[in-house]
C-alpha cells in the first residue's frame, strides 16, 4: 500500500502526473519540435577566443551566400544591455566591442537550411585582437590583472561582508577551533533538452516567442525592453520544457535574442536549436567555489561560531552571482543553531563561461563545507556524527511560534531533528558505523549529513504567483497559471490543490501551458518557489470560485453559505448531508439561472512577503525563503582502495521534511533525483575541466554523468511538519537533498578509508593519490 498523508480527498496520496500521458505518447511538444510554414534556421557565430577585442565584423560574404535571408550582429541591438537585475545589466545580446569567454556569440544568421546557416557563419569574418585573460579568481584578484570589464576594477563582481554576533570572542572561548578549505567545481545543469527557440512577428510590433525557458516571464520582460514593445505585445507561449535546474533556462541565451531579431529582419519564423556542444561550452554553470571555513565548538560539540570566506568564479558576466553569494552565506545559520557568524564573499569576473544558479543554489557549496567539517570536529571530540548533529539541530518550534536565526531567518517549522533520528534508525546507524567492512580491495563506509533549503523564494520586485480557475458550464475546469512546470511536477500539485479546495477530482481540471497573452504574470520557476507560492495562488483562486458557487448553493438550499460544503463532486448542507446535489448540477444552475453567472476564480500568493518581508542581500539579513525544507541523509560508499574508484551503494537513506507531501511519489522521485543525479554525481563524477578558458570535456562521454548503473536506490522517508506558510503545509522538495548528498558521501569515504577529500568531485585519481599519500605517511611513522 502507498503511504498517504492527512485526511484529504485528492492531495497527500499518489496521483498520476497531469502531463504524464502527453509526455509518454509524444504528444507533448518541446521548442525543438515546433515547425512553422516558411520557417528559417538560425545559427550563431561564436568567438574562438576567451578574451579579445573585436576590431571588425564583416558579414558581406555570408549575406551573399544563396539561401541566407538575414545576418545580425550586436550593433543591431543599439547598445541594449540586460542582466539579472537593473544594476547588473552588463551583457549585450551579441558582443560588439569585446568577447569575454570562449564561444561567446558575435553574430547570427538565418537561412533556408541548417547547413547553409552554418556555412554562412563560417563566412563571417571577424577580426580580433586577442587579450590576455584571467581564468580563475586567484588570477583575477592579482594586482594589475587584465580586466574582464574595463569599468570593474579588481574584477570584483560581488562582494559581501556580514557579521552577526562576535566570532572572535566566540573562537577564543571555544574548546576546539578548526579551519579548512573546501572546493566545489564548475558543473553542468544536466537538462536533456538544450536551449531551443522559435520566434516570429505576426505584426510589425508584435512578437511571439516559443522557447525552452523555465521562467517565461523573464524573456517576456527582457524582450519587451530589447525591442521596445509594450508588454501586451510580447507573447511568450510556453512549450513543454525538458527540465531546467536553474540558470540558463531562466536567463537569456544568444539564441533567445537571435531568433526574434532574425525573424524581425526576415518577416519569417526563425528557429534555433543548440547542440550539446553549444550547451556544454556556453550555457551557465554552477559556480566553482573555494570555501574557507573556521568553526569553534565547545567540548560537548556545541557550535559557538563560524566564519566563512567564500571565493567564487563568476565567469564573464554577473548573471545571478549576487544571489548565489547571498545564498552561500545565509544558510550557515541553519539547520544547526549558530550564535555567532561572519561571512566574507568575493565573486570575481573571469574569462570563463558565466556561472549561475543550479539546484541547491548557493547552499550546496557552504553546507557541504560545514557538514564535512562538522564530522571532522566530531571525530576530534570523540563524538558520533549523529550525536553532534542532534546536539546542534534547531528544534521544531511550538505551533504558533517562530524560530529566528542570528541573521534574521525565520522558520515556523523545522523537522531536522526528526529527519536525523529517522535516518539513524532506518540505517541502524550505530551498528553500521561500528562494523568495518573490507572485502579484498574494496572498503565500505557510511557517512551522515543534514541540510536545508529555502522554499518559496522571494526576491525584490515582483514576487506573486497567480492563478485563474475557470469553471465551465458542464463542471469541468480550466486552470490558468503563469507558473511553469519544467518537469518538477508543479502543474500536478497546483491542479490537485485546486481540486481539493473545490471538492472535485484531479481529472476535472485541465491545465494550460503558460501563454503570456492569457495567463497571469509570474516570477518564474526558480528557488523552489512554485509549489509554495503558485500553490497558494491555486488555493486562493479555487476558494474564490468556490465562494461564488457556494453562494448559489446556499440560495438553492435556503441556508447560509457557511452551511454549504462541496466534497467529492457532491454539494451538501453540512448539518444535513441528505440535502445535496451533484457538482455538475450546481454549476449548471449557477451558469444558466437568468442572467447566468460566469464563474471565474482568481487568486494570487501573498505568503511570506506580507508576513516576513524581504531579505537584504548586501547586509545578509532576512528571509529569502517563505519556509525551509530539511533533510538528513546517510550514504554508504564502496571504495576500491587500489584504484580510487568510489561508488555509492543502495544502502542510502534520506529523510525529508517538505512540510507536507502533496504528491508523495513526486516528492520521493524528486528527492532521489536531486540526491542522486545532482548530489552523488556532484560528489563523485562531474566537473568541467578547463584550460585557459577552453572547456576540455564538452561532450557527454568526457564530461562524466552517471547512468542508471551507478544510481543508488535511495530510500526516502517523509517527515511531516505542516508549515503554516505553505499551501496545505507544504515547503520545498528536493533542493535540500541535492545539498545533503555530497557531504554524506565525503564523510562516508572518510569512514571507509580515513582520507578526507575536500575538493569535489572525488574522482578516482584524486582519491588514489590521497590514499597513496596516507599510506606513505603511515609507513614513515613506523
Amino acid at each position: 500500500m502507498e503511504e498517504t498523508f492527512g485526511n484529504y480527498s485528492v492531495i497527500g496520496k499518489a496521483m498520476p502526473r497531469v502531463d504524464a500521458r502527453a509526455k509518454v505518447t509524444g504528444e507533448a511538444k518541446y521548442a525543438a519540435d515546433i515547425e512553422l510554414p516558411g520557417m528559417l534556421w538560425g545559427q550563431i557565430k561564436r568567438s574562438p577566443y576567451a578574451h579579445a577585442r573585436i576590431l571588425n565584423i564583416d558579414t558581406s560574404k555570408a549575406e551573399e551566400l544563396p539561401g541566407v535571408k538575414a545576418v545580425t550582429t550586436g550593433k543591431d541591438f543599439n547598445g541594449f544591455k540586460w542582466g539579472w537585475s537593473g544594476p547588473t545589466r552588463d551583457e549585450e545580446p551579441f558582443a560588439t566591442t569585446k568577447v569575454r569567454y570562449q564561444y561567446e556569440g558575435v553574430a547570427a544568421v538565418a537561412a533556408i537550411s541548417e547547413d547553409i546557416a552554418e556555412e554562412a557563419c563560417d563566412l563571417i569574418e571577424v577580426e580580433y585582437e586577442p587579450l590576455p585573460g584571467v581564468f580563475d579568481p586567484f588570477e583575477a584578484m592579482k594586482e594589475g590583472a587584465p580586466l574582464v570589464h574595463d569599468n570593474r576594477p579588481g574584477n570584483i563582481c560581488v562582494e559581501y561582508h556580514w557579521t552577526f554576533g562576535d566570532v572572535d570572542k566566540a573562537f577564543a572561548e571555544s574548546h576546539l577551533v578548526r579551519e579548512d578549505i573546501f572546493q566545489t567545481p564548475r558543473m553542468a545543469k544536466g537538462y536533456l533538452e538544450t536551449p531551443a527557440v522559435v520566434a516570429y512577428w505576426p505584426g510589425p510590433d508584435r512578437l511571439v516567442f516559443q522557447g525552452a525557458k523555465g521562467s517565461p516571464y523573464f524573456p517576456y520582460r527582457i524582450l519587451a525592453r530589447c525591442f521596445n514593445l509594450p508588454l501586451s505585445n510580447v507573447r511568450v507561449i510556453q512549450p513543454f520544457i525538458g527540465s531546467d535546474f536553474g540558470g540558463t533556462k531562466n536567463d537569456m541565451t544568444h539564441c533567445d535574442f537571435a531568433a526574434p531579431m532574425l525573424a524581425k529582419k526576415t518577416g519569417r519564423p526563425v528557429k534555433l536549436v543548440y547542440t550539446q556542444f553549444d550547451t556544454l561550452t556556453t550555457d551557465l554553470r554552477r559556480h566553482p567555489m573555494w570555501i574557507t571555513i573556521k568553526t569553534g565548538v565547545t567540548k560537548d560539540g556545541i557550535l559557538k561560531a563560524t566564519y566563512v570566506k567564500a571565493i567564487a568564479d563568476g565567469g564573464a558576466y554577473t548573471r545571478m552571482s549576487p544571489l548565489t553569494m547571498f545564498l552561500t552565506g545565509t544558510c550557515m545559520t541553519l539547520p544547526y543553531e549558530l550564535p555567532n557568524f561572519k561571512f566574507d564573499a568575493y565573486n570575481y569576473f573571469t574569462n570563463n563561461p558565466s556561472s549561475a544558479a543550479m539546484r541547491g543554489h548557493g547552499l550546496y557549496h557552504s553546507r557541504f563545507a560545514a557538514d564535512v567539517q562538522l564530522d571532522m570536529m566530531a571525530e576530534e571530540l570523540g563524538l558520533d556524527p549523529v550525536e553532534i548533529r542532534l546536539r546542534n539541530a534547531i528544534e521544531n518550534p511550538e505551533p504558533g511560534k517562530v524560530y529566528e536565526t542570528i541573521n534574521g531567518v525565520h522558520m515556523a517549522t523545522c523537522g531536522v531533528k526528526e529527519c536525523i533520528e529517522k535516518v539513524a534508525e532506518a540505517t541502524n546507524w550505530e551498528e553500521k558505523r561500528k562494523t568495518k567492512k573490507v572485502e579484498g580491495h574494496k572498503s565500505y563506509g557510511i557517512g551522515f549529513s543534514a541540510a536545508t533549503y529555502n522554499g518559496g523564494t522571494k526576491l525584490s520586485a515582483h514576487n506573486a504567483c497567480a492563478a485563474i480557475v475557470r469553471v465551465c458550464e458542464d463542471g469541468s475546469i480550466n486552470y490558468l497559471t503563469g507558473a511553469s512546470d519544467v518537469g518538477q511536477g508543479s502543474d500536478t500539485v497546483c491542479c490537485a490543490i485546486a481540486a481539493e479546495v473545490l471538492g472535485v477530482g484531479l481529472e476535472d481540471i485541465d491545465i494550460k501551458r503558460v501563454d503570456t497573452a492569457f495567463t497571469p504574470v509570474d516570477p518564474g520557476s526558480y528557488g523552489s518557489r512554485v509549489t509554495v507560492l503558485a500553490g497558494q495562488a491555486a488555493m486562493n483562486a479555487a476558494e474564490d470560485a468556490k465562494r461564488q458557487l457556494v453562494e448559489v448553493a446556499a440560495q438553492q438550499f435556503s441556508v447560509t453559505p457557511e452551511e454549504v460544503e462541496i466534497k467529492n463532486r457532491q454539494v451538501f448542507v453540512k448539518s444535513n448531508p441528505q440535502r445535496n446535489m451533484p457538482w455538475e448540477r450546481l454549476v449548471r444552475i449557477a451558469c444558466y439561472e437568468t442572467p447566468g453567472k460566469v464563474i471565474i476564480g482568481r487568486g494570487y500568493s501573498t505568503q511570506g512577503i506580507t508576513i516576513l518581508g524581504l531579505a537584504d542581500l548586501s547586509k545578509g539579513v532576512g528571509d529569502i525563503g517563505t519556509n525551509y525544507s530539511f533533510t538528513a541523509q546517510a550514504a554508504e560508499v564502496e571504495v576500491d582502495v587500489e584504484t580510487g574508484v568510489v561508488k555509492c551503494t543502495d544502502n542510502s537513506v534520506i529523510a525529508h521534511d517538505c512540510g507536507f507531501p502533496l504528491n508523495p511519489p513526486a516528492v520521493e522521485t524528486q528527492v532521489q533525483g536531486g540526491s542522486y543525479h545532482q548530489g552523488v554525481s556532484a560528489a563523485l563524477y562531474e566537473e568541467f575541466k578547463m584550460d585557459q578558458g577552453q572547456t576540455l570535456n564538452p561532450n557527454l562521454i568526457d564530461y562524466m554523468r552517471p547512468r542508471a548503473y551507478e544510481a543508488p536506490m535511495t530510500k526516502v522517508l517523509h517527515v511531516v511538519t505542516n508549515d503554516p506558510y505553505g499551501p496545505f503545509g507544504a515547503k520545498e522538495a528536493s533542493e535540500g537533498s541535492c545539498c545533503s548528498a555530497p557531504p554524506a558521501l565525503i564523510n562516508a569515504i572518510y569512514d571507509a578509508t580515513g582520507v578526507w577529500i575536500k575538493d569535489l568531485p572525488a574522482q578516482p585519481e584524486k582519491v588514489f593519490w590521497a590514499l597513496k599519500a596516507q599510506k606513505e605517511k603511515k609507513q614513515r611513522k613506523k
Binding site: 547547413d115 548503473y709 574522482q763 588514489f768
Partner: protein, 291 residues
Amino acid sequence: MIGDFEYFAPKTVDEAIALLSKYKGEAKIIAGGQSMLVVMKRGLLTTEYLIDIKGIAALDYIKYDEGEGLRIGALTIHRAIEKSPIIQKHFRVLSEMEQNLATIQTRNWGTIGGNLCHGDPAGDPAPVLIALNAKLKLAGSGGERIIEVEEFSKDYLEVALEPDEMLTEIQVPTPLSHTGIACEKLMVMKGDMGVVGAAVSITLSPKDGVCKDARIVLSNCASVPLRARGAEKKLIGKVLNDSLLVEAGEVASTEASPPVDVHGSAEYRQEMVKVFVRRAATKALERAKAA
C-alpha cells in the same frame, strides 16, 4: 555538421568491395556507426561516399568447431557475442569483455568488426583477441588475406586496411590446454572506455605447472594495443606466484606510455597498469590452473 555524402547500402561483400574499388579512398564504410558518427559529428571526418554494410547479412554469424576454433562475422553485434552460449562456454573472456563494453544500446548496434577497424587503442576487443592469438580475414578486390590481430593496428585510429579492403571475419583459435584468459579495465562508470585495461593469457605446463606461455596486452597505453613483452618474459618459464604477478604489472607499467587527458594523468595510468595487469593475471592464472 556531418555534411553531404552519397549513400550506398550493398547487400553482399562483393558489392561492397566493388564500391570500395570504384571510389578508392573517397569512400568510407559505416557499420553500426557507433564510433563513426561520433567522429563525423565532431567534424573530424567527412566522406564523399558512405557505404553502409549493416545489411550484409552473410557477415553476421558466430561459428564454432573444436579444430577450427571460433569464427565471428565482422557484422556480429557486441550484444550477440556477449550473449552467445557458444562463446560463454568456450571463450568466456570474450563475453566478459563485452559485458563492460559501452551500454546495452551501443552493444545492440555496434559491431565487432567496426570496433576493430576503428582502431582505437582504448578499445576492449583487440587486446583480448591478441591475447587469444586471433586472426582477421580481410577481403579486397585482389581476393582475401589473413592477418594477425596484433599486426592490424598501425597507429591511433589507423589500421592495416587497403582502400579497397574490408574486414569480414575474426578467427579465434581454440586455446591450448591449461590456458586461462582474463581481462580487466579501469572504469569510473560501468561501460566506460577503459582509462587503462589489460588482457592476460597464461598457459601452464600440465607436468610441472611452469608457465609455458604468457601474453599480456594493454589497452589505452600506446597508440595501438600494446603487447607488454617484458612483462610476459617475467612469467614465462616460471612457476607463478603472487609476487611474480605483481612484478609483471610493474614491468608492464614501464612499457606503457599512456595518454594524458581529462580522465587521468600518465602517472596515474601507469600506476593503474600495475593494478590491472596483476588483477587480470591473477584471474588468468586461477583459470589456467582450473582448466
